[in-house]
């Protein structure tokens, strides 16, 4: 089995951070006001914001999926018979999602 370095765990957390930040961006887009536009424009603005909130959420979901994928890799490795070394304990701390 291929060795999984600690950096995989670090990357998984960074993907989680991206997920959080992109969810925040999605909320920011969805929460942007359209009251200032004229009636001729406000409808198009609302549709755009709704659609782009979904785009940002999708990117966030994809980021979370990358984090989850890396955690599966870590889980498989620390559970295997071939895992060894002083980094094993530290690596196992990344198996659980922190946030």
């Amino acid at each position: 089995m291929e060795v999984v370095p600690l950096s995989v765990g670090v990357a998984s957390q960074r993907w989680d951070d991206q997920h959080l930040d992109l969810d925040a961006a999605a909320g920011q887009v969805g929460g942007a006001g359209t009251d200032g536009f004229t009636r001729a424009v406000s409808g198009a603005a609302s549709r755009f914001l709704t659609q782009w909130q979904r785009h940002a959420e999708t990117l966030g979901t994809d980021s979370e999926a990358r984090a989850d994928g890396l955690r599966v890799v870590i889980q498989d490795y620390v559970s295997s018979d071939e895992a060894a070394g002083i980094d094993l304990f530290l690596l196992s701390t990344y198996v659980t999602e922190q946030r």
Partner: protein, 584 residues
């Protein structure tokens, strides 16, 4: 009987219901979100790559993330383009509103003219007919010109609305984003590759920025606000745009993370600092210019919520730093960190209001500058020992930052240089003294208020490097902090290794002392009197404002503090009745 033809009634101007400010806010939200999406692209191209992981699993991972990075890049560019268009739409709406106001005034005038002519015709004689017809023809031509302009206005509004709707619809779907923006190189990338290194002077930075195209500049503001937001030599308006993107993004991110209950301790500190910056800019923007009645313009000149081990760095101006005739930088002191930004913003806005009130013909900008690591040990919290244990090390380091900031303000302006004043309050006066003495800070005026000493190496006004005629001191006779400076021959910093230097209000120092008593002063020393220098309708604010405006003849001078060999320190201001000059 001759027939006289009246001019037609001018058509009414259609209503235009919109709020350019709210539209601009919407654009700001989109810009901040695009910056976040851009960060994902940067992350995928950099930190997401795991260099020390090899094998099939690693290959699959890196193959999987590449499309996410490409998608993030194209989406950030698409969203940025719409955000920029929304911002331009806000500007155009404001112009259309202004044009509508003008048209409305013309229509009202012309309607009055038509009514007048109708009245005159009703009582006219045959002899008046020719002259009245000529007058009617003149008004008719004015109505026709008005009608033409009204039609142009209406079509301009319709065209602008159509263009905005198309901008929204053009990249609404993900497929369209990929088709239009997929593979497009971010203009920020090449521009950032030529950015001067970390040791570059404000002048070098300014030259680099001016060498970029408008498109490149706008791209950097969104894609890498942190690269220029706090960079001396970048114009204040640009720094404000970049820091606004960064601040709005941070507020959204950390507020969201907080709502999920997973905010780290560091992030909580940074969020509090970001909220303080937000409060500060609102404090200023909610007030109005006393001359124009318009909201005061704000510029976020410095925003780094994590600086100084979490104390944070924030500087925000009331007024436009790029164009103002007179610019003041207020340097706060003991106990200041980013969380006090709201309080400091109030001071900056107050000075702005006062300077404008006292000289309506001059444009002004006043910036509070929390740009150095100030002592946490505030004397009013910890007694005199708090000030006593403060040394000059923080002022020395802060002075270097302050001088760089002044250099940056000077270098980044086009046209006439500003009349620039550094106002150091409390320990901030020590920092200001070091900036002048150690760094050769290039200001036109130095104002020390409530000073505990201006640094051990500054023995007189001439040591600041500024003409002593332009070195000023304000000291309330009841302010205990202003009494901490060295007097006479006693020099604490050299005798005991503590103390912050000479009192700039003393006769030996050789600067100008101005009146700074407060009508609400106590009978004895009171820490409360240390915080009244920037209150409206006080001698201190009045005189600071006159100095900032360069109106030296209007400054009310005070007799200096002196320290006779046969007696204790004497303050002639102690027994003078304070006045309340109007500052608003």
């Amino acid at each position: 009987m001759t027939t006289i033809t009246l001019p037609p009634q001018p058509r009414p101007v259609p209503l235009l219901t919109c709020q350019p400010g709210a539209v601009r806010d919407c654009g700001g939200d989109l810009l901040a979100a695009s910056a976040q999406i851009d960060d994902l692209g940067t992350f995928v191209a950099g930190d997401a790559r795991i260099g020390d992981w090899t094998g099939r699993g690693s290959e699959r991972y890196h193959e999987t993330i590449a499309p996410i990075g490409r998608r993030a890049d194209s989406m950030s560019l698409a969203l940025r383009s719409v955000a920029t268009r929304v911002d331009a739409h806000a500007d155009e709406l404001q112009r259309l509103l202004d044009r509508r106001t003008d048209l409305e005034e013309r229509r009202s005038h012309l309607a009055g003219e038509v009514a007048r002519l109708r009245g005159e015709i009703a009582t006219a004689t045959e002899d008046d007919a020719a002259a009245l017809q000529a007058e009617c023809d003149r008004v008719r031509r004015e109505v026709e010109a008005y009608e033409t302009d009204l039609t142009t206005w209406s079509s301009d509004l319709a065209a602008e609305e159509t263009a905005m709707v198309q901008a929204f619809q053009r990249v609404q779907e993900a497929e369209a984003v990929e088709r239009i923006w997929g593979g497009v190189v971010d203009p920020a990338d090449a521009a950032l590759a030529t950015k001067p290194g970390s040791g570059a002077s404000p002048g070098e930075v300014s030259t680099w920025w001016d060498s970029l195209t408008y498109v490149q500049q706008q791209a950097i503001i969104t894609a890498a606000p942190g690269a220029i937001g706090n960079l001396d030599g970048i114009p204040a308006g640009t720094r404000n745009a970049a820091n606004t993107v960064a601040l709005d993004r941070d507020l959204a991110n950390w507020t969201h993370t907080e709502s999920l209950g997973v905010l780290t301790e560091d992030e909580r500190t940074w969020l509090e600092n970001a909220r303080a910056a937000d409060e500060a800019r609102r404090n200023i923007a909610d007030r109005v210019d006393p001359v124009t009645g318009e909201p005061i313009e704000t510029q976020v000149y410095l925003y780094d919520p994590a600086a100084f081990d979490g104390d944070g760095a924030i500087a925000i101006s009331a007024g436009n730093l790029d164009t103002a005739d007179n610019v003041a930088v207020v340097v706060p002191g003991f106990g200041t960190d980013a969380e006090s930004a709201g309080y400091q913003a109030d001071r900056a806005a107050t000075i702005y209001e006062s300077t404008r009130y006292l000289d309506p013909d001059a444009s002004n900008a006043t910036m509070f500058w929390i740009g150095y690591d100030a002592p946490d040990n505030a004397p009013w919290d910890e007694g005199f020992d708090g000030a006593g244990v403060a040394t000059e090390s923080m002022a020395t380091a802060g002075g270097e930052h302050l001088a760089d900031t002044i250099d940056g303000l000077r270098e980044s302006r086009d046209g006439e240089p500003a009349h620039l004043t550094a106002v150091g309050h409390s320990y901030g006066s020590t920092t200001t003294g070091h900036a002048a003495h150690d760094q050769g800070m290039e200001v036109d005026e130095i104002v020390f208020v409530g000073s505990p000493g201006v640094g051990g190496d500054t023995n007189d006004a001439g040591d600041t490097g500024i003409d002593p005629e332009h070195v000023w001191a304000g000291a309330n006779s009841r302010d205990p902090i202003a009494d901490l400076g060295n007097h006479g021959w006693v020099h604490g910093e050299t005798l005991f290794g503590a103390g912050l230097g000479d009192d700039p209000a003393e006769d030996d120092f050789g600067g100008n002392r101005f009146e700074a008593e407060s009508e609400t002063r106590g009978g004895a020393f009171s820490f409360g009197d240390h915080s009244k220098y920037f209150d409206h309708d006080t001698e201190s604010l009045y005189n600071i404002s006159q100095i900032v405006n360069g109106n030296y003849d209007a400054v009310e001078h005070a007799d200096h503090v002196y320290d006779p060999w046969h007696d204790g320190v004497q303050d002639p201001e102690h027994d003078r009745d304070p006045t309340t000059p109007a500052t608003r």
